[in-house]
Symmetry: C2
Subunit: 217 residues, 2 copies
Amino acid sequence: MSAVNEVADKAIARPSGLAEEVYRRIRADIMSLRLPPDTRVSVDSLARELGVSQTPIREALSMLEANGLVSKRHFAGYATSPRMDRAQLDELFEFRLLIEPHAARKAAESMKGADMAILASGEGATSHDAFADMDTQFHKLIAQGAGNHLIADSLARLHIHVHIFRSCFRSEIAEEAVHEHDDIIAAIRAHDGATAEAAMRSHIERSYARLRDFIRD
Amino acid sequence: MSAVNEVADKAIARPSGLAEEVYRRIRADIMSLRLPPDTRVSVDSLARELGVSQTPIREALSMLEANGLVSKRHFAGYATSPRMDRAQLDELFEFRLLIEPHAARKAAESMKGADMAILASGEGATSHDAFADMDTQFHKLIAQGAGNHLIADSLARLHIHVHIFRSCFRSEIAEEAVHEHDDIIAAIRAHDGATAEAAMRSHIERSYARLRDFIRD
DNA sequence: GGTCCCGCGATCCTATAGGATATTGGATTT
DNA sequence: AAATCCAATATCCTATAGGATCGCGGGACC
């Protein structure tokens, strides 16, 4: 019986939801820059590489296209979306400023103790990747703490692009960001909605200023 | 040359992006309640009905799933999402209140004359469907007027669900809504951002109150 | 009468073949 | 030498067939 599995072990395992699995795999490859922005992605190459048929690849790429991570040109194949330019960065942070401060306020008002424990942990990152993961987790937990699935989903989608942008420039670990996170966490633990909202707004504005310097076109 | 086209005229026309065309078709069927909520949707039925292969159907359904209009259960086929319940309606309008007033302010500050002419026209709907289309167009133009693609896309996605919900209950034409629209349009034409933002907020809150009465579970 | 087993239908998933199209490289012309 | 045209290639898009899996209903057994 091990003979049956030994082939599929390295490939994608679960037969439950193959397209979903492929979707996560490709999304992870895009976020880790293993597939850099503006890179062509062919269907049958992926099919050979992952050891599955073309159908789940197509479904996964369609989902990625709906989420804005790849774009399809007729009879020319898929390609990862190009890196954000200045205008897109502005739009993204304008959107975040509308949503995330409100999410922080609601999280402060209604978050339970169990989730707060998770929020407080995992603060202390040394490498670039660890910091990026920690930041993603931090904002994700607050978005979920707001108790609104639309808010959580929208912010998750946006943070993917923030992650890619930051990874492109291998930006140094911002010591300030950790302190700003601590301010927000303290306000949430104190159930102080107004302070949490203000701290989050300040954090996003400073984060925007830090990232904006990397772009000059 | 007309002989070449006469067959394809009634079917799906553009050979550029079959999956895209199928996507729009199914989305239109869902929005018109031709596919009611919580209805099973089989791939090959659609393939036979639309006269195309299964592959573009799958891609279209994957995109619809990413947009939250259908859901897939493993080896059980696709189904249209169930009608919104009370909690989802609350979440949706909480989100709209975060975004749309800001969009109205920005539209008032930066909208050009040409778009305003379009905005002012098309006000005067008699039937249910005509009112629904007019309302959709109204909010879509303001969202685009804000000059932020993320805002426009998010609101477009949300308004689909509002449209479906309203269609489910065949809600009467709200005379008030037209007046509220007029207030917003007047503020935008006067480039009065603060007034436009307040008018939009008021409009959404009243719209929420009107729709909320239809749900009691 | 209740519970378990089994076959049937529906659906998804995979594989392969063939037609259509955009991109790329080289040859030709100005 | 630069621009243009054309053919070759790679890729996508579609269609069809076959294997695998899940849910449901009828019948047998306790």
